[in-house]
């Protein structure tokens, strides 16, 4: 259909031709709208990263002088170029970032915290996922509801008692009584004060993802393993978990990203922002803001470096992320 109209209107401009064919074939309009929307979303999501790059490569001396929106000569009329561009090119900021503060150590801390939390969450959530996915017992629905409720509560509702307990100054008392139980060790500025809250907060999502996956394994496979002589726990860790490897990977990736993302406990429990005292990436990036106030290019460069691990993870594991969030997110 489109080709015939093209021939008829060959004398008109391309826009008129396209309009003509679009009227006769609305599919084309939808296709065009689709690409317009897609480009719009791509630009809006990716633009902030471009802006970080612009700041990072602009030499520090020129950051505060002049506009990032240069004037252009448009057929004799001066206009403002709508896209910010770097004022010069000096990629040194990407090296200076590591010289001024040990940024690699902050990232290593974040990695260590995220990996530790992920391992704890996967083991504990595997046990719970097995229970909820494969066993029928009284109180099942009630317990799932309780776990669900925990993940909904604001971290602020937990932070005061946890901070006091992790400070290790006073004994923990039984709530609503003055009975002292024990004095906990000082955990502020150690992995313990962050890994504990992270594990509890991010575990429910993993439990729900693993419940779905473990529940799908046919009973026969587990029974066969049991007949062969493996123990109950052996069947879980040697048969059920390997068979649900995609689900375990999904839960692990989502937990890792969630911990790497976390701000609330990361900023409160690491009272010292020194890398040597377990401050994660939060402390690293904020230290450019407090100690070197005007070094905006370093803040931008550090942000780009800090965001790279999750960008790579998202590109590599996007199938797992989408399936995990679409099946389990509402149950977080």
């Amino acid at each position: 259909m489109a080709t015939t109209t093209d021939d008829d209107n060959s004398s008109e401009g391309p826009l008129a031709r396209w309009t003509q064919s679009a009227i006769q074939n609305p599919e084309k309009v939808y296709r065009a709208l689709f690409y317009v929307a897609m480009v719009f979303f791509l630009v809006t999501t990716l633009f902030p990263f471009y802006w970080l790059l612009v700041l990072a490569v602009t030499p520090s001396g020129r950051l505060l002088s002049g506009s990032f929106l240069p004037s252009v000569d448009l057929f004799g009329v001066s206009a403002t170029f709508p896209l910010p561009v770097p004022k010069g090119f000096n990629p040194e900021a990407f090296i200076t970032v590591f010289e001024q503060v040990p940024f690699h150590l902050y990232m290593l801390n974040s990695f260590a915290l995220a990996v530790t939390t992920t391992v704890i969450v996967i083991v504990v959530a595997s046990l719970a996922g097995y229970v909820f996915g494969r066993l029928r017992f009284p109180g099942r629905a009630f317990l799932m509801l309780g776990i669900l409720a925990v993940s909904y509560f604001p971290p602020a509702a937990f932070v005061i008692p946890l901070f006091q307990a992790f400070a290790g100054n006073a004994p923990i008392t039984l709530p609503f009584t003055e009975i002292p139980l024990f004095t906990p060790p000082r955990l502020l500025n150690t992995p313990g004060s962050m890994v504990l809250p992270f594990s509890a907060l991010f575990m429910p999502l993993s439990i729900f993802i693993l419940t779905t996956f473990y529940g799908q394994i046919p009973d026969g496979l587990e029974d066969a393993a049991r007949v062969e002589g493996t123990t109950r726990l052996g069947a879980l860790f040697r048969v059920i978990m390997p068979l649900s490897a995609p689900g375990v990977a999904t839960a692990a990736v989502l937990t890792f990203i969630a911990v790497y993302n976390e701000y609330f406990f990361s900023s409160i429990m690491a009272t010292s922002t020194e890398a040597a005292r377990w401050s994660p990436i939060v402390g690293g990036i904020l230290s450019y803001q407090t100690q070197y106030t005007t070094q905006y290019n370093l803040m931008a460069a550090a942000s780009i470096i800090g965001v790279l691990p999750v960008v790579i993870l998202v590109i590599v594991a996007q199938e797992r992320i989408v399936s995990g969030l679409t099946s389990g997110a509402l149950k977080e």
Binding site: W51, F68, A156, M203, N261, S267, M299
Partner: protein
């Protein structure tokens, strides 16, 4: 598998006994045994702190910060009626003292609700658009999908840094054009409550729309594709297909997602702390963090009110969705 039994017998006696004991448990006993780690973790990190927060909210700290005394629900009464605890650090309050814009923006409860309502509304519309695009088949879909998800995975501190650098009056290129339009304060933009609230909402929309999109995508992918074939045969246009099939069928998913995101938005803290500061844009979580060292009872009361609001919303979600929400 025969080596398995061989390895089993070489283990110490206690372990074998434990295994044998475990084999003989009933399903219910075994279930509760495996849940012990979850109970311990949630008990220590969630249940104990929640009860303790409620307990602390019933006490007031003395002026010299050395002792505390039982005051009952006095902290809550003062939060809502504006007693001595109304005035929190930074000149901010818990509930507004009048209906002027200034008073509203200085109130933690109002700011949190404005933030949740406005950002979730935009995230729903943008997320729906993104989900409709991600649902299509086209070449390069993998890359488009990765690009759209990435903001969701960006650490909050980096998200905060991005928007701090974009709207900061010194280097931010976006401040001047938007100030010309009258949307932002031209100088000290991030120290102006109204401007900072606007920027924080934009930052949250940027990061969380993708998450909303994924939730809606789940609903889109559960629609029976056969319905569209029938609609095509009946001559329905793409718009009619969306209006008559897609939208009604994903409406329940959108409803759950909106409630779910609103609950999450009520605990906003990180983006405020990194882009601006809690003294410029007060939110419920901000107030808790800003006051817990000096006015423990007040902070605990705010934390518990937040938890209660969220608790009610979650109960609503469960009552509406029934077992599906679990």
């Amino acid at each position: 598998m025969s080596t398995e039994t061989g390895r089993e017998s070489r283990r110490s006696g206690v372990l074998v006994d434990a295994m044998r004991w475990m084999e003989n448990l009933s399903d219910t006993q075994y279930a509760y045994l495996l849940l012990i780690p979850v109970f311990v973790l949630l008990g220590v990190v969630a249940l104990y702190p929640l009860l303790r927060t409620f307990e602390l909210s019933l006490y007031a700290t003395s002026l010299d910060l050395t002792g505390r005394s039982f005051v009952g629900i006095d902290n809550y009464v003062q939060l809502f009626t504006g007693g001595k605890n109304r005035f929190l650090p930074g000149g901010t309050t818990f509930i507004p003292s009048s209906l002027s814009l200034n008073a509203l923006l200085n109130s933690a409860l109002v700011v949190t609700i404005i933030f949740a309502v406005v950002s979730v509304a935009f995230e729903t519309v943008i997320g729906l658009g993104q989900a409709l695009i991600l649902d299509q088949d086209f070449s390069g879909r993998k890359w488009v999908r990765a690009a759209i998800i990435i903001p969701w995975a960006v650490p909050i501190v980096i998200q905060g840094m991005v928007f701090f650098l974009m709207f900061n009056s010194n280097v931010g290129f976006a401040t001047a054009p938007l100030a010309d339009l009258g949307l932002l304060a031209p100088t000290n933009t991030l120290n102006d409550t109204a401007s900072a609230t606007f920027i924080i909402i934009v930052a949250d929309i940027w990061k969380t729309s993708a998450f909303m999109a994924l939730l809606i995508l789940a609903g889109l992918q559960s629609i029976d594709r056969g319905l569209y074939d029938v609609a095509k045969v009946a001559g329905a246009s793409k718009w009619q297909q969306f209006k008559l099939i897609t939208f009604p069928l994903i409406l329940p998913t959108i409803g759950v997602a909106v409630l779910f995101r609103s609950v999450q938005a009520m605990r906003v803290y990180g983006i405020i702390d990194t882009v601006s500061s809690c003294s410029v844009v007060p939110s419920l979580s901000c107030m808790v963090v800003a006051t817990f060292n000096t006015r423990e009872g007040t902070a605990a009361a705010i934390a518990f009110v937040t938890a209660a609001i969220i608790g009610v919303a979650v109960m609503g979600l469960i009552a509406w969705q029934g077992e599906d929400a679990i």
